[in-house]
Amino acid sequence: MVSAPNALCFGHELPASGAPCLVQVGLHGLTVVFTADGREQQEEIPFTALAISVGGLDHDHLVLKWTSEQGERTLYLKDAELIRTFRRFAPPSLHVSFEQAATGARSARWKRTGAWSLAFLTLLILVAGLWWGSDLLVALAVERIPVEWEQKLGEAAYRDFLAHQTVLKEGPAVAAVQEITQRLVRPLSHNPYTFEVTVVKSDVVNAFALPGGYIVVFTGLMQSATSAEEVAGVLGHELNHVLQRHGLERIVKRLGILVAASIVVGDQQGLAGLMKQFGVELMTLKFGREQETEADVAGLRLLYDARIDPSGMIRFFERLSEKDEGRVEWLSTHPMSRGRAERLKAELMAMPKLTPLPFTFDWAAVRESLGAPFVSEP
C-alpha cells in the first residue's frame, strides 16, 4: 500500500529539506516508510528508542529523535491526526515527555498571543493616551519651542506665499491695517512677537495668521467690511491664533500623529515627506474648534483693551454668515455657528461699558481706494 507521506525525516545522509516519509503508529512503535526511486524502505522504531520534543517555527511540529544504524534521525510530524494517534499508543514512559512537549508548545503559543495582546494593548493605551493626553503633551512641547524657531518657520511660509501674490506696498488700505494692528498690539503686556501684516490683492474674503506673527489680509475682506471695527475684529481673532501659538499646536499635534503612525506602519519616508510638506501645510493649517473659540474670545478682549468697538466683530461674523456661504472663505475655514456669535455677545454683555476710541482714518476712503462699491451699513 502506498500512501502519501505525512512526515519529514532528517538525518545525516538525507536531504536537508527532509525526506518525505509515511509514518504509521503501531502498538510497539513507529513504522517509517521511505519511498525513494520507486523503492520502499521500511524502518521500525520502538517507542523506547524515541525522544520527544517540539519544533518548527511555530512550535507546531512534534519532533521525534532516535539513533538508527545510519546515525541520528529526526522525524517532524505535523499531521494532527497522526499526533493524536501517537499520543494514544505511546506507552506511559513517554507520557511525561509528551506532556512536557505539549506544555512547551502551548507556552510558546501563549507567549506569542501574549506578545501580540501586549503590543495591541500598548497601542491601544498609546492611542487613548494620545487622544486624551495629547493636549497636555502638545502644550508641553509647544512651550519648549523658542519663539525664534516659530518665527523662522512662519517666515519661510510667509515669504513663499507672498512670492506668488500681488502685495499692496502702500496706500490707505495698508496704512489702515497697520494702524489697526498697532492699536491691537499696544495694550498687550507680554508680547514676544513683532507682528508683520501684509495686504494682498485678492477678492478672497479672508485673512490668516502664520506662526511667529505673520499676518496676511486680503483686499476682499476689506472690501466687504463696512467698518474698520469689522476688520479689527478679524485681525483680533487672527492675532490671537499667533499669541496662543495655535499654529504650533497644530503642527506638533500633526507631527506627533504622523510620527506615531510612521512608527506603527514603519514608513521612514513619511517623516522626510512631512518635513517637506511643512511649507504647504502651514498655508492650509486649519485650527480646531476649541482654538477658534479661544481666538474669538481672546480677540474680543483684545478689541476691548484696545478700545475698539467689539460689536463690529460680531456684526461682521453675522453679516457674513447670512451671505452666500459658499463664496466666503473666511467663514468656510472658520465654521460659524449661532452659538459662537451668541457666546461672543454674552461675553460682551459681561464686560463693563466701553467708550470706543475712533480710528484716525476714514473707512469709506479706504474702501474706495480698493475700488469697493459703496455699501450702506445695514
Partner: protein, 227 residues
C-alpha cells in the same frame, strides 16, 4: 506543468509549459508573454477576505492571476519585478515553506498559499513585516529574490545566522530567533547589521544576495528632490 528558467542570472525569466486545461497561479503582473491558448484570469486566493487581508496585511498583491491553458496546451513566460534569481522548488505535500511577501512568483494550482501572522518580535525586527506567506501543498513553487539566491542546508540543531533583510524563504521545520548582531545596542547599529536571525535546523533557508531596503536607501541619495 513543466518549468524552465531562461537566462539564469540577474534577469531571468521562467517558461512554464501547460498541458490543456492545466492552470497555475502567479503574482499579478508577473506575466511577460503567453500562448494564445492561455487565458489570464485574476483570482482572489482564499476568497475575497483572504485576498483583502493578504493585500492589507502582507502588502502582497490583492489578486493572484490564474493562467489557464483553456484552449489547448501552451506556454507562459513569467518574470519578477526586481532583478534577481528565480528558483523552482518541488513541494511534496509535507514540506511547507514560509516565504517573505515579495518572494512568491508562481505556483502550481495545487499549491496552497496563506497569509500568516508572525510572532510580534519577529514581525517587528525580522525585516519582512508582520505577515508572511505560508506555502504548502504539492506541486511546483517558483520563488524569486533580489540578487542571487543562496541555499543554506541545516541539519537538525545546526544553526546559522542571516541578516534579517536577506531572507527569502525557509522551511517550516526550521525555527529562528531575532537577536542583535553585536552584544551592545550601539555596536549593533554601527556595525550596519542591526538585527540578525539565528536559524536552527533542520531544514532549508533560501537567502538573497542583496538587501532591498539597503539598495533603496543607497539609490535614494541619487534621486533628485523634485519640487
Amino acid at each position: 506543468m513543466r518549468s524552465e528558467i531562461l537566462y539564469p542570472g540577474a534577469f531571468p525569466m521562467v517558461r512554464i509549459e501547460l498541458s490543456a486545461g492545466e492552470q497555475i497561479k502567479a503574482e499579478s503582473g508577473a506575466m511577460v508573454g503567453a500562448s494564445p491558448t492561455v487565458d489570464v484570469e485574476s483570482k482572489m486566493e482564499g476568497g475575497f477576505f483572504g485576498a483583502l487581508s493578504r493585500k492589507l496585511l502582507t502588502g502582497e498583491k490583492f489578486f493572484f492571476q490564474t493562467l489557464r491553458a483553456s484552449r489547448g496546451p501552451g506556454e507562459v513566460l513569467l518574470a519578477p519585478t526586481v532583478p534577481g534569481e528565480i528558483v523552482i522548488l518541488e513541494l511534496d505535500g509535507v514540506n511547507e515553506y514560509l516565504v517573505q511577501k515579495d518572494g512568491f512568483l508562481a505556483g502550481a494550482d495545487t499549491v496552497s498559499i496563506e497569509s500568516k501572522m508572525q510572532s510580534f518580535a519577529r514581525g517587528l525586527m525580522g525585516g519582512e513585516g508582520f505577515f508572511i506567506l505560508k506555502i504548502g501543498g504539492k506541486g511546483t513553487l517558483i520563488i524569486n529574490s533580489f540578487g542571487a539566491i543562496h541555499r543554506i542546508d541545516l541539519k537538525p540543531d545546526q544553526e546559522y545566522i542571516v541578516d534579517n533583510s536577506h531572507m527569502v524563504a525557509w522551511s517550516a521545520t526550521t525555527s529562528y530567533t531575532i537577536e542583535r548582531a553585536s552584544s551592545g545596542w550601539v555596536a549593533s547599529f554601527t556595525s550596519g547589521e542591526g538585527f540578525v536571525c539565528r536559524f536552527r535546523g533542520p531544514g532549508v533557508v533560501y537567502i538573497q544576495s542583496r538587501n532591498p531596503s539597503g539598495f533603496g536607501a543607497w539609490i535614494r541619495q541619487f534621486i533628485p528632490i523634485s519640487e
